[in-house]
Protein backbone atom coordinates (compact mmCIF):
# COMPACT_ATOMS: atom_id res chain seq x y z
CA UNK A 1 0.00 0.00 0.00
CA UNK A 2 1.17 3.54 -0.70
CA UNK A 3 1.82 5.72 2.24
CA UNK A 4 0.14 9.11 2.55
CA UNK A 5 0.60 11.48 5.48
CA UNK A 6 -2.12 14.11 5.84
CA UNK A 7 -1.43 17.18 7.97
CA UNK A 8 -4.59 18.64 9.47
CA UNK A 9 -4.72 22.27 10.47
CA UNK A 10 -6.39 21.77 13.80
CA UNK A 11 -6.92 19.22 16.53
CA UNK A 12 -9.00 16.17 15.82
CA UNK A 13 -12.61 17.26 15.45
CA UNK A 14 -15.59 16.82 13.16
CA UNK A 15 -14.20 19.56 10.89
CA UNK A 16 -12.07 16.72 9.48
CA UNK A 17 -14.71 14.02 9.69
CA UNK A 18 -14.44 13.04 5.99
CA UNK A 19 -10.86 11.90 6.38
CA UNK A 20 -11.44 10.02 9.60
CA UNK A 21 -14.48 8.33 8.09
CA UNK A 22 -12.49 7.36 5.01
CA UNK A 23 -9.82 5.90 7.24
CA UNK A 24 -12.22 4.15 9.57
CA UNK A 25 -14.50 2.78 6.87
CA UNK A 26 -11.54 1.48 4.91
CA UNK A 27 -12.05 3.75 1.91
CA UNK A 28 -8.35 4.48 1.86
CA UNK A 29 -7.57 0.81 2.12
CA UNK A 30 -9.78 0.11 -0.86
CA UNK A 31 -7.64 2.53 -2.84
CA UNK A 32 -4.54 0.71 -1.62
CA UNK A 33 -3.48 3.65 0.53
CA UNK A 34 -1.97 3.62 3.98
CA UNK A 35 -3.01 7.01 5.35
CA UNK A 36 -1.66 8.62 8.52
CA UNK A 37 -3.63 11.59 9.80
CA UNK A 38 -1.52 14.12 11.69
CA UNK A 39 -3.55 16.43 13.91
CA UNK A 40 -2.63 20.11 14.01
CA UNK A 41 -2.98 22.96 16.46
CA UNK A 42 -2.22 26.62 16.88
CA UNK A 43 1.52 26.02 16.85
CA UNK A 44 1.49 24.05 13.64
CA UNK A 45 1.79 25.72 10.27
CA UNK A 46 0.88 22.92 7.86
CA UNK A 47 2.82 24.45 4.94
CA UNK A 48 5.94 24.33 7.04
CA UNK A 49 5.39 20.67 7.79
CA UNK A 50 4.89 20.06 4.10
CA UNK A 51 8.07 21.96 3.27
CA UNK A 52 9.99 20.00 5.85
CA UNK A 53 8.82 16.73 4.34
CA UNK A 54 6.83 15.81 7.43
CA UNK A 55 3.65 15.30 5.38
CA UNK A 56 2.60 14.60 1.79
CA UNK A 57 -0.61 16.59 1.72
CA UNK A 58 -2.11 19.21 3.95
CA UNK A 59 -5.38 20.87 4.65
CA UNK A 60 -5.23 24.64 4.64
CA UNK A 61 -7.18 27.81 4.35
CA UNK A 62 -6.44 29.48 1.09
CA UNK A 63 -5.06 32.75 2.52
CA UNK A 64 -2.38 30.84 4.34
CA UNK A 65 -1.65 28.60 1.36
CA UNK A 66 -1.31 31.53 -1.01
CA UNK A 67 0.95 33.33 1.47
CA UNK A 68 3.19 30.29 1.56
CA UNK A 69 3.25 30.28 -2.24
CA UNK A 70 4.45 33.86 -2.26
CA UNK A 71 7.09 33.06 0.30
CA UNK A 72 8.56 30.54 -2.11
CA UNK A 73 6.80 27.36 -1.11
CA UNK A 74 4.84 26.34 -4.21
CA UNK A 75 1.77 24.58 -2.81
CA UNK A 76 -1.08 23.71 -5.11
CA UNK A 77 -4.74 23.20 -4.35
CA UNK A 78 -5.65 19.77 -5.65
CA UNK A 79 -9.15 19.55 -4.21
CA UNK A 80 -11.64 21.71 -2.35
CA UNK A 81 -14.13 19.69 -0.32
CA UNK A 82 -15.45 22.83 1.46
CA UNK A 83 -17.71 24.94 -0.70
CA UNK A 84 -18.71 27.63 1.76
CA UNK A 85 -16.88 29.48 4.49
CA UNK A 86 -17.84 28.93 8.11
CA UNK A 87 -16.05 32.01 9.43
CA UNK A 88 -18.03 34.75 11.13
CA UNK A 89 -17.89 37.47 13.73
CA UNK A 90 -20.06 36.94 16.78
CA UNK A 91 -21.00 40.01 18.84
CA UNK A 92 -23.01 40.74 21.95
CA UNK A 93 -26.32 42.20 20.93
CA UNK A 94 -26.33 44.52 23.95
CA UNK A 95 -23.34 46.39 22.57
CA UNK A 96 -25.73 47.89 20.09
CA UNK A 97 -24.04 46.43 17.04
CA UNK A 98 -26.48 45.74 14.25
CA UNK A 99 -24.37 46.28 11.15
CA UNK A 100 -20.67 46.47 10.29
CA UNK A 101 -20.88 50.25 10.49
CA UNK A 102 -21.43 49.92 14.26
CA UNK A 103 -18.00 48.34 14.73
CA UNK A 104 -16.47 51.77 15.15
CA UNK A 105 -15.03 52.16 18.61
CA UNK A 106 -15.51 48.52 19.45
CA UNK A 107 -12.99 45.83 20.34
CA UNK A 108 -12.90 42.84 18.05
CA UNK A 109 -11.06 39.57 18.45
CA UNK A 110 -9.50 38.27 15.24
CA UNK A 111 -7.58 35.13 14.42
CA UNK A 112 -4.24 35.86 12.88
CA UNK A 113 -1.93 33.32 11.26
CA UNK A 114 -3.09 34.65 7.86
CA UNK A 115 -6.76 34.60 8.81
CA UNK A 116 -6.69 38.31 9.52
CA UNK A 117 -6.57 39.32 5.87
CA UNK A 118 -10.20 38.67 5.01
CA UNK A 119 -11.06 40.74 8.07
CA UNK A 120 -8.77 43.60 7.09
CA UNK A 121 -10.13 43.44 3.59
CA UNK A 122 -13.67 43.66 4.93
CA UNK A 123 -12.86 46.60 7.16
CA UNK A 124 -11.15 48.50 4.39
CA UNK A 125 -14.23 47.87 2.28
CA UNK A 126 -16.33 49.36 5.09
CA UNK A 127 -13.88 52.22 5.47
CA UNK A 128 -13.12 51.48 9.11
CA UNK A 129 -9.58 51.85 10.37
CA UNK A 130 -8.12 49.00 12.34
CA UNK A 131 -5.73 50.78 14.67
CA UNK A 132 -8.17 51.60 17.42
CA UNK A 133 -9.57 54.98 18.37
CA UNK A 134 -13.06 56.42 18.18
CA UNK A 135 -13.58 55.80 14.51
CA UNK A 136 -11.74 52.55 14.19
CA UNK A 137 -11.87 49.12 15.72
CA UNK A 138 -9.42 47.86 18.27
CA UNK A 139 -8.14 44.52 17.08
CA UNK A 140 -7.07 41.81 19.50
CA UNK A 141 -5.16 38.74 18.52
CA UNK A 142 -7.64 36.23 19.76
CA UNK A 143 -6.59 32.89 21.12
CA UNK A 144 -8.49 29.86 20.03
CA UNK A 145 -11.28 29.93 22.53
CA UNK A 146 -14.30 32.07 23.23
CA UNK A 147 -13.26 33.46 26.59
CA UNK A 148 -12.68 37.01 25.32
CA UNK A 149 -16.35 37.24 24.43
CA UNK A 150 -17.66 35.53 27.54
CA UNK A 151 -15.40 37.63 29.75
CA UNK A 152 -16.46 40.67 27.75
CA UNK A 153 -12.87 41.59 26.94
CA UNK A 154 -14.03 41.91 23.35
CA UNK A 155 -17.34 43.04 21.88
CA UNK A 156 -17.04 40.67 18.95
CA UNK A 157 -14.88 37.63 18.31
CA UNK A 158 -14.13 35.39 15.39
CA UNK A 159 -16.00 32.11 15.48
CA UNK A 160 -16.60 29.22 13.16
CA UNK A 161 -20.21 28.31 12.64
CA UNK A 162 -19.35 24.74 13.51
CA UNK A 163 -17.14 25.17 16.51
CA UNK A 164 -16.64 28.32 18.53
CA UNK A 165 -20.18 29.55 17.98
CA UNK A 166 -21.41 26.31 19.46
CA UNK A 167 -19.09 26.81 22.40
CA UNK A 168 -20.61 30.21 23.05
CA UNK A 169 -24.04 28.66 23.07
CA UNK A 170 -22.78 25.79 25.24
CA UNK A 171 -21.73 28.23 27.90
CA UNK A 172 -25.38 29.16 28.38
CA UNK A 173 -25.70 32.14 26.06
CA UNK A 174 -28.88 32.12 24.01
CA UNK A 175 -28.84 32.89 20.32
CA UNK A 176 -30.88 36.05 20.72
CA UNK A 177 -28.24 37.61 22.96
CA UNK A 178 -25.88 37.51 19.98
CA UNK A 179 -25.48 39.07 16.59
CA UNK A 180 -23.43 37.28 13.91
CA UNK A 181 -21.83 38.41 10.67
CA UNK A 182 -20.86 35.64 8.29
CA UNK A 183 -17.95 36.47 6.02
CA UNK A 184 -19.83 34.65 3.31
CA UNK A 185 -22.70 37.15 3.60
CA UNK A 186 -20.34 40.13 3.68
CA UNK A 187 -18.75 39.06 0.42
CA UNK A 188 -15.33 38.60 1.94
CA UNK A 189 -15.35 34.85 2.30
CA UNK A 190 -12.17 32.97 1.46
CA UNK A 191 -11.85 29.30 0.68
CA UNK A 192 -11.31 27.09 3.70
CA UNK A 193 -10.06 23.56 4.22
CA UNK A 194 -8.63 22.80 0.79
CA UNK A 195 -6.30 19.90 0.07
CA UNK A 196 -2.83 21.01 -0.97
CA UNK A 197 0.33 19.31 -2.18
CA UNK A 198 3.74 20.52 -3.30
CA UNK A 199 4.06 21.49 -6.95
CA UNK A 200 7.31 19.60 -7.36
CA UNK A 201 5.77 16.35 -6.11
CA UNK A 202 2.84 16.67 -8.48
CA UNK A 203 5.18 16.38 -11.42
CA UNK A 204 5.79 12.80 -10.39
CA UNK A 205 3.11 10.59 -12.06
CA UNK A 206 3.25 8.07 -9.24
CA UNK A 207 2.53 10.78 -6.70
CA UNK A 208 -0.23 12.16 -8.89
CA UNK A 209 -1.82 8.75 -9.03
CA UNK A 210 -1.56 8.45 -5.29
CA UNK A 211 -3.26 11.83 -4.89
CA UNK A 212 -6.03 10.87 -7.26
CA UNK A 213 -6.80 7.85 -5.15
CA UNK A 214 -6.47 9.88 -1.99
CA UNK A 215 -8.89 12.56 -3.12
CA UNK A 216 -11.35 9.98 -4.41
CA UNK A 217 -11.39 8.13 -1.11
CA UNK A 218 -11.52 11.33 0.90
CA UNK A 219 -14.51 12.64 -1.04
CA UNK A 220 -16.19 9.30 -0.53
CA UNK A 221 -15.56 9.78 3.14
CA UNK A 222 -17.00 13.26 3.09
CA UNK A 223 -20.14 12.21 1.34
CA UNK A 224 -20.56 9.31 3.77
CA UNK A 225 -20.13 11.71 6.66
CA UNK A 226 -22.70 14.09 5.22
CA UNK A 227 -25.15 11.24 4.92
CA UNK A 228 -24.41 9.73 8.34
CA UNK A 229 -23.45 12.68 10.53
CA UNK A 230 -24.02 10.95 13.84
CA UNK A 231 -21.86 7.94 12.96
CA UNK A 232 -19.18 10.28 11.56
CA UNK A 233 -19.08 12.24 14.81
CA UNK A 234 -18.59 9.02 16.76
CA UNK A 235 -15.75 8.01 14.48
CA UNK A 236 -14.05 11.37 15.11
CA UNK A 237 -14.52 10.95 18.81
CA UNK A 238 -12.89 7.51 18.68
CA UNK A 239 -9.88 9.03 16.96
CA UNK A 240 -9.37 11.82 19.46
CA UNK A 241 -6.31 10.90 21.47
CA UNK A 242 -6.50 13.93 23.73
CA UNK A 243 -9.78 12.88 25.27
CA UNK A 244 -10.90 16.49 25.30
CA UNK A 245 -13.85 16.31 22.89
CA UNK A 246 -17.42 15.78 23.94
CA UNK A 247 -20.05 13.80 22.12
CA UNK A 248 -22.66 16.56 21.98
CA UNK A 249 -20.26 19.13 20.62
CA UNK A 250 -18.98 16.86 17.87
CA UNK A 251 -22.50 15.90 16.86
CA UNK A 252 -23.44 19.53 16.40
CA UNK A 253 -20.16 20.31 14.65
CA UNK A 254 -20.72 17.51 12.19
CA UNK A 255 -24.16 18.85 11.40
CA UNK A 256 -22.75 22.30 10.72
CA UNK A 257 -19.81 20.98 8.70
CA UNK A 258 -22.17 19.06 6.48
CA UNK A 259 -23.68 22.40 5.45
CA UNK A 260 -20.28 23.70 4.34
CA UNK A 261 -19.25 20.66 2.32
CA UNK A 262 -22.67 20.21 0.82
CA UNK A 263 -22.09 22.16 -2.37
CA UNK A 264 -18.75 20.62 -3.32
CA UNK A 265 -17.86 17.49 -5.22
CA UNK A 266 -14.24 18.14 -4.36
CA UNK A 267 -13.32 20.14 -7.39
CA UNK A 268 -12.38 23.80 -6.94
CA UNK A 269 -14.68 26.37 -8.50
CA UNK A 270 -12.39 28.93 -10.23
CA UNK A 271 -14.88 31.67 -9.42
CA UNK A 272 -14.44 30.98 -5.70
CA UNK A 273 -10.71 31.14 -6.19
CA UNK A 274 -10.90 34.50 -7.95
CA UNK A 275 -13.15 35.90 -5.23
CA UNK A 276 -10.71 34.75 -2.56
CA UNK A 277 -7.79 36.35 -4.37
CA UNK A 278 -9.54 39.66 -4.81
CA UNK A 279 -10.51 39.68 -1.15
CA UNK A 280 -6.94 39.09 -0.15
CA UNK A 281 -5.56 41.72 -2.49
CA UNK A 282 -7.94 44.25 -0.97
CA UNK A 283 -6.42 43.71 2.46
CA UNK A 284 -5.19 47.22 3.10
CA UNK A 285 -1.68 48.53 3.52
CA UNK A 286 0.19 45.32 4.18
CA UNK A 287 -1.45 42.59 2.12
CA UNK A 288 -0.55 38.98 2.57
CA UNK A 289 -0.22 38.48 -1.19
CA UNK A 290 0.82 41.20 -3.56
CA UNK A 291 -0.08 39.74 -6.92
CA UNK A 292 -2.51 37.32 -8.47
CA UNK A 293 -1.02 33.85 -8.01
CA UNK A 294 -0.45 31.62 -11.00
CA UNK A 295 -0.84 27.89 -10.93
CA UNK A 296 -2.09 27.81 -7.38
CA UNK A 297 -4.70 25.23 -8.18
CA UNK A 298 -5.21 22.34 -10.54
CA UNK A 299 -8.14 20.29 -11.66
CA UNK A 300 -6.01 17.45 -12.91
CA UNK A 301 -6.37 15.42 -9.70
CA UNK A 302 -10.08 15.95 -9.20
CA UNK A 303 -10.80 15.39 -12.85
CA UNK A 304 -9.08 12.04 -12.69
CA UNK A 305 -10.58 11.18 -9.35
CA UNK A 306 -14.15 11.99 -10.13
CA UNK A 307 -14.41 10.19 -13.44
Amino acid sequence: ADEVRLQLQWVTQAQFAGYYVALDKGFYGEEDLDVTILPGGPDIAPPQVLAGGGADVMLNWMPSALAAREKGLPVVNIAQPFKTSGLMLTCWKDTGITSPADFKGKTIGVWFYGNEYPFLSWMSKEGISTDGGEDGVTVLKQGFNVDPLLQRQADCISTMTYNEYGQVLDSGVSEDELVTFKYEDQGVATLEDGIYALEANLEDPAFQDKMVRFVRASMKGWKYAEANPSEAADIVLDNDASGAQTEAHQQRMMAEIAKLTAGSNGSLDPADFDRTVSTLLGGGSDPVITKIPEGAWTHSITDAALN
Binding site: V11, G41, G54, L150, D240, G243
Partner: protein, 309 residues
Protein backbone atom coordinates in the same frame (compact mmCIF):
# COMPACT_ATOMS: atom_id res chain seq x y z
CA UNK B 1 6.80 17.17 61.49
CA UNK B 2 7.14 20.87 62.15
CA UNK B 3 7.40 21.32 58.42
CA UNK B 4 4.26 19.32 57.86
CA UNK B 5 2.25 21.45 60.26
CA UNK B 6 3.62 24.60 58.69
CA UNK B 7 2.83 23.41 55.18
CA UNK B 8 -0.66 22.37 56.17
CA UNK B 9 -1.29 25.72 57.82
CA UNK B 10 -0.07 27.61 54.80
CA UNK B 11 -2.08 25.38 52.53
CA UNK B 12 -5.27 25.90 54.47
CA UNK B 13 -4.77 29.66 54.42
CA UNK B 14 -4.20 29.52 50.68
CA UNK B 15 -7.27 27.38 50.14
CA UNK B 16 -9.41 29.69 52.23
CA UNK B 17 -8.08 32.64 50.28
CA UNK B 18 -8.72 30.76 47.06
CA UNK B 19 -12.37 30.14 47.95
CA UNK B 20 -12.73 33.80 48.82
CA UNK B 21 -11.14 34.81 45.54
CA UNK B 22 -13.71 32.75 43.64
CA UNK B 23 -16.39 35.22 44.72
CA UNK B 24 -15.19 38.32 42.87
CA UNK B 25 -13.64 36.32 40.05
CA UNK B 26 -16.76 34.40 39.15
CA UNK B 27 -19.58 36.67 40.27
CA UNK B 28 -20.23 38.27 36.91
CA UNK B 29 -20.51 34.98 35.11
CA UNK B 30 -22.72 33.58 37.83
CA UNK B 31 -25.02 36.59 37.73
CA UNK B 32 -25.35 36.39 33.97
CA UNK B 33 -26.25 32.74 34.22
CA UNK B 34 -28.67 33.43 37.05
CA UNK B 35 -30.31 36.19 35.07
CA UNK B 36 -30.76 33.88 32.12
CA UNK B 37 -32.35 31.37 34.44
CA UNK B 38 -34.79 34.07 35.49
CA UNK B 39 -33.39 35.16 38.82
CA UNK B 40 -33.66 38.69 40.13
CA UNK B 41 -30.21 40.31 39.84
CA UNK B 42 -29.11 43.83 40.84
CA UNK B 43 -28.41 45.59 38.61
CA UNK B 44 -30.07 43.79 35.74
CA UNK B 45 -28.29 43.36 32.41
CA UNK B 46 -24.78 42.10 31.80
CA UNK B 47 -23.82 45.31 30.08
CA UNK B 48 -24.71 47.37 33.13
CA UNK B 49 -22.64 45.15 35.34
CA UNK B 50 -19.66 45.20 33.05
CA UNK B 51 -17.93 48.16 34.65
CA UNK B 52 -19.12 47.64 38.22
CA UNK B 53 -16.82 46.48 40.99
CA UNK B 54 -16.94 42.78 41.69
CA UNK B 55 -17.08 43.19 45.47
CA UNK B 56 -20.10 45.42 45.25
CA UNK B 57 -21.81 42.86 43.06
CA UNK B 58 -21.08 40.10 45.55
CA UNK B 59 -22.57 42.16 48.37
CA UNK B 60 -25.65 43.10 46.37
CA UNK B 61 -26.30 39.55 45.22
CA UNK B 62 -25.44 37.43 48.19
CA UNK B 63 -27.75 34.65 47.02
CA UNK B 64 -25.26 33.92 44.22
CA UNK B 65 -22.33 33.15 46.46
CA UNK B 66 -22.63 29.34 46.52
CA UNK B 67 -22.90 29.33 42.75
CA UNK B 68 -19.48 30.95 42.39
CA UNK B 69 -17.98 27.69 43.64
CA UNK B 70 -20.00 25.48 41.35
CA UNK B 71 -19.83 27.01 37.91
CA UNK B 72 -19.30 24.84 34.86
CA UNK B 73 -16.74 27.10 33.22
CA UNK B 74 -15.57 29.41 36.00
CA UNK B 75 -12.94 32.08 35.62
CA UNK B 76 -11.37 30.63 38.74
CA UNK B 77 -12.47 27.11 39.65
CA UNK B 78 -12.87 26.37 43.33
CA UNK B 79 -10.35 24.00 44.93
CA UNK B 80 -12.84 21.19 45.30
CA UNK B 81 -13.75 21.43 41.63
CA UNK B 82 -10.12 20.97 40.68
CA UNK B 83 -9.73 18.17 43.19
CA UNK B 84 -12.84 16.42 41.87
CA UNK B 85 -11.63 16.69 38.30
CA UNK B 86 -8.23 15.38 39.31
CA UNK B 87 -9.83 12.45 41.08
CA UNK B 88 -12.16 11.79 38.19
CA UNK B 89 -9.26 11.62 35.77
CA UNK B 90 -6.88 9.68 37.99
CA UNK B 91 -8.10 7.65 40.94
CA UNK B 92 -11.58 7.03 39.58
CA UNK B 93 -10.08 5.85 36.30
CA UNK B 94 -7.89 3.38 38.14
CA UNK B 95 -10.88 2.08 40.06
CA UNK B 96 -12.70 1.58 36.79
CA UNK B 97 -9.67 -0.28 35.47
CA UNK B 98 -9.15 2.30 32.73
CA UNK B 99 -5.91 3.67 34.00
CA UNK B 100 -4.47 4.08 30.54
CA UNK B 101 -7.58 5.36 28.80
CA UNK B 102 -7.39 8.62 26.91
CA UNK B 103 -9.38 10.38 29.58
CA UNK B 104 -6.99 9.35 32.30
CA UNK B 105 -4.27 11.71 33.44
CA UNK B 106 -2.06 8.70 34.03
CA UNK B 107 -2.04 8.11 30.31
CA UNK B 108 -1.29 11.75 29.51
CA UNK B 109 1.13 12.03 32.37
CA UNK B 110 3.03 9.03 31.10
CA UNK B 111 3.20 10.44 27.57
CA UNK B 112 4.69 13.65 28.94
CA UNK B 113 6.88 11.88 31.45
CA UNK B 114 8.54 9.67 28.87
CA UNK B 115 9.51 12.67 26.75
CA UNK B 116 10.61 14.50 29.90
CA UNK B 117 12.88 11.72 31.02
CA UNK B 118 14.44 11.24 27.63
CA UNK B 119 14.93 14.99 27.23
CA UNK B 120 16.31 15.26 30.73
CA UNK B 121 18.81 12.51 30.03
CA UNK B 122 19.92 14.16 26.80
CA UNK B 123 20.03 17.64 28.35
CA UNK B 124 21.89 16.53 31.43
CA UNK B 125 24.42 14.54 29.44
CA UNK B 126 24.99 17.43 27.09
CA UNK B 127 25.14 19.92 29.94
CA UNK B 128 27.72 17.91 31.82
CA UNK B 129 29.83 17.43 28.71
CA UNK B 130 29.70 21.13 27.94
CA UNK B 131 30.59 22.00 31.51
CA UNK B 132 33.54 19.64 31.45
CA UNK B 133 34.68 21.25 28.23
CA UNK B 134 34.23 24.73 29.59
CA UNK B 135 36.16 23.98 32.74
CA UNK B 136 39.03 22.36 30.92
CA UNK B 137 39.29 24.55 27.86
CA UNK B 138 39.70 28.28 28.00
CA UNK B 139 38.49 28.59 24.44
CA UNK B 140 35.24 26.82 25.21
CA UNK B 141 34.83 28.86 28.34
CA UNK B 142 35.32 32.17 26.61
CA UNK B 143 33.36 31.42 23.45
CA UNK B 144 30.57 29.06 24.47
CA UNK B 145 29.43 30.42 27.82
CA UNK B 146 28.10 33.77 26.58
CA UNK B 147 26.21 32.03 23.79
CA UNK B 148 24.73 29.52 26.16
CA UNK B 149 23.24 32.49 27.99
CA UNK B 150 22.01 33.99 24.73
CA UNK B 151 20.39 30.69 23.82
CA UNK B 152 18.20 31.00 26.90
CA UNK B 153 16.88 34.39 25.86
CA UNK B 154 15.26 32.82 22.81
CA UNK B 155 11.61 32.07 23.39
CA UNK B 156 11.43 28.31 23.12
CA UNK B 157 7.78 28.32 22.16
CA UNK B 158 8.71 30.19 19.00
CA UNK B 159 11.50 27.80 18.18
CA UNK B 160 9.65 24.63 19.10
CA UNK B 161 7.59 24.34 15.91
CA UNK B 162 10.66 24.99 13.81
CA UNK B 163 12.76 22.48 15.71
CA UNK B 164 10.06 19.92 15.16
CA UNK B 165 9.74 20.68 11.48
CA UNK B 166 13.49 20.60 10.96
CA UNK B 167 13.72 17.30 12.80
CA UNK B 168 10.80 16.00 10.74
CA UNK B 169 12.62 16.95 7.60
CA UNK B 170 15.62 14.86 8.57
CA UNK B 171 13.35 12.00 9.43
CA UNK B 172 13.25 12.22 13.22
CA UNK B 173 9.75 11.68 14.55
CA UNK B 174 7.94 10.39 17.56
CA UNK B 175 9.09 11.09 21.07
CA UNK B 176 12.51 12.46 20.12
CA UNK B 177 11.51 15.95 18.87
CA UNK B 178 9.71 16.61 22.13
CA UNK B 179 12.70 15.33 24.03
CA UNK B 180 14.97 17.66 22.08
CA UNK B 181 12.95 20.67 23.18
CA UNK B 182 12.89 19.42 26.71
CA UNK B 183 16.67 18.92 26.53
CA UNK B 184 17.11 22.46 25.21
CA UNK B 185 15.47 23.82 28.36
CA UNK B 186 17.22 21.55 30.82
CA UNK B 187 20.80 21.75 29.59
CA UNK B 188 21.36 25.33 30.68
CA UNK B 189 20.83 24.98 34.42
CA UNK B 190 22.99 21.88 34.33
CA UNK B 191 25.81 23.68 32.52
CA UNK B 192 25.73 26.62 34.90
CA UNK B 193 25.54 24.50 38.02
CA UNK B 194 28.09 22.01 36.84
CA UNK B 195 30.60 24.67 35.79
CA UNK B 196 30.22 26.23 39.21
CA UNK B 197 30.61 22.84 40.85
CA UNK B 198 33.61 21.73 38.83
CA UNK B 199 35.24 25.04 39.69
CA UNK B 200 34.36 24.85 43.37
CA UNK B 201 37.59 23.19 44.59
CA UNK B 202 39.70 25.90 46.17
CA UNK B 203 43.26 26.75 45.31
CA UNK B 204 44.67 24.57 48.00
CA UNK B 205 42.82 21.45 46.93
CA UNK B 206 44.04 21.97 43.37
CA UNK B 207 47.57 22.71 44.52
CA UNK B 208 47.61 19.50 46.49
CA UNK B 209 47.02 17.54 43.31
CA UNK B 210 49.65 19.55 41.55
CA UNK B 211 52.22 18.50 44.11
CA UNK B 212 51.24 14.89 43.35
CA UNK B 213 51.65 15.68 39.67
CA UNK B 214 48.17 14.26 39.10
CA UNK B 215 46.96 14.22 35.50
CA UNK B 216 44.01 16.32 34.37
CA UNK B 217 42.02 13.13 34.28
CA UNK B 218 42.86 12.22 37.83
CA UNK B 219 42.08 15.76 38.90
CA UNK B 220 38.68 15.43 37.32
CA UNK B 221 37.70 12.09 38.79
CA UNK B 222 39.24 12.52 42.21
CA UNK B 223 38.62 16.19 42.91
CA UNK B 224 36.43 18.15 40.53
CA UNK B 225 33.69 15.60 40.02
CA UNK B 226 33.14 14.71 43.67
CA UNK B 227 33.35 18.38 44.64
CA UNK B 228 30.69 19.24 42.08
CA UNK B 229 28.09 16.74 43.29
CA UNK B 230 26.07 19.09 45.53
CA UNK B 231 25.96 21.66 42.74
CA UNK B 232 25.04 19.01 40.20
CA UNK B 233 22.06 17.85 42.19
CA UNK B 234 20.86 21.38 42.84
CA UNK B 235 20.86 22.06 39.12
CA UNK B 236 19.41 18.67 38.24
CA UNK B 237 16.40 19.58 40.32
CA UNK B 238 15.94 22.78 38.36
CA UNK B 239 16.71 20.93 35.16
CA UNK B 240 14.08 18.25 35.57
CA UNK B 241 11.38 20.83 36.20
CA UNK B 242 12.54 22.66 33.09
CA UNK B 243 12.51 19.38 31.18
CA UNK B 244 8.89 18.86 32.07
CA UNK B 245 7.97 22.31 30.87
CA UNK B 246 9.94 21.61 27.69
CA UNK B 247 8.11 18.36 27.08
CA UNK B 248 4.79 20.12 27.52
CA UNK B 249 5.80 22.92 25.17
CA UNK B 250 7.01 20.29 22.73
CA UNK B 251 3.63 18.62 22.73
CA UNK B 252 1.89 21.66 21.34
CA UNK B 253 3.48 21.68 17.87
CA UNK B 254 3.36 17.92 17.50
CA UNK B 255 -0.38 18.03 17.18
CA UNK B 256 -1.03 18.01 20.89
CA UNK B 257 -2.61 14.62 20.56
CA UNK B 258 -1.69 13.33 23.96
CA UNK B 259 0.12 14.42 27.05
CA UNK B 260 -0.44 17.03 29.72
CA UNK B 261 0.25 19.77 27.19
CA UNK B 262 -2.54 18.44 25.03
CA UNK B 263 -4.84 18.50 28.04
CA UNK B 264 -3.90 22.09 28.77
CA UNK B 265 -4.46 23.11 25.18
CA UNK B 266 -7.67 21.13 24.84
CA UNK B 267 -8.96 22.69 28.01
CA UNK B 268 -8.03 26.08 26.70
CA UNK B 269 -9.81 25.61 23.32
CA UNK B 270 -13.02 24.60 24.89
CA UNK B 271 -12.90 26.99 27.81
CA UNK B 272 -12.75 24.04 30.22
CA UNK B 273 -11.04 25.93 33.01
CA UNK B 274 -11.41 23.07 35.41
CA UNK B 275 -9.61 20.80 32.98
CA UNK B 276 -6.80 23.35 32.55
CA UNK B 277 -6.35 23.66 36.26
CA UNK B 278 -6.33 19.96 36.85
CA UNK B 279 -3.78 19.45 34.07
CA UNK B 280 -1.70 22.25 35.56
CA UNK B 281 -1.79 20.65 38.95
CA UNK B 282 -1.03 17.26 37.50
CA UNK B 283 2.05 18.75 35.84
CA UNK B 284 3.17 20.44 39.04
CA UNK B 285 2.59 17.28 41.06
CA UNK B 286 4.59 15.32 38.53
CA UNK B 287 7.39 17.87 38.75
CA UNK B 288 7.28 17.75 42.53
CA UNK B 289 7.55 13.96 42.46
CA UNK B 290 10.48 14.08 40.08
CA UNK B 291 12.26 16.67 42.21
CA UNK B 292 11.56 14.66 45.34
CA UNK B 293 12.93 11.56 43.64
CA UNK B 294 16.10 13.43 42.74
CA UNK B 295 16.28 14.63 46.32
CA UNK B 296 16.23 11.03 47.52
CA UNK B 297 18.94 10.04 45.07
CA UNK B 298 20.96 13.05 46.14
CA UNK B 299 20.66 12.11 49.79
CA UNK B 300 21.85 8.58 49.23
CA UNK B 301 24.65 9.54 46.85
CA UNK B 302 25.97 12.29 49.10
CA UNK B 303 25.65 10.02 52.08
CA UNK B 304 27.67 7.37 50.38
CA UNK B 305 30.23 9.99 49.55
CA UNK B 306 30.33 11.00 53.18
CA UNK B 307 28.87 14.45 52.61
CA UNK B 308 25.48 13.72 54.12
CA UNK B 309 26.01 15.92 57.12
Amino acid sequence: MKTLIAVLTVLSVIIAFWYAACLPMNIKGVLTEAERAGAEVTPAGAKERRDLGEFGLVLDNRFAIPATWAQDRPRLPAPHQVAQELWKTTGAMVLKGKMMSKRSLFYHGWVTLSATLLGFAIGTGLGILLAVGIVHSRVMDMSVMPWAIVSQTIPIIALAPMIIVVLYSVGVQGILPKAVISAYLSFFPVVVGMVKGLRSPDGMQLDLLRTYNASTNQGFWKLRLPASMPYLFASLKIGIAASLVGAIVGELPTGAVAGLGARLLGGSYYGQTVQIWSALFAAAILAACLVALLGLIERSVLKRMGMGA
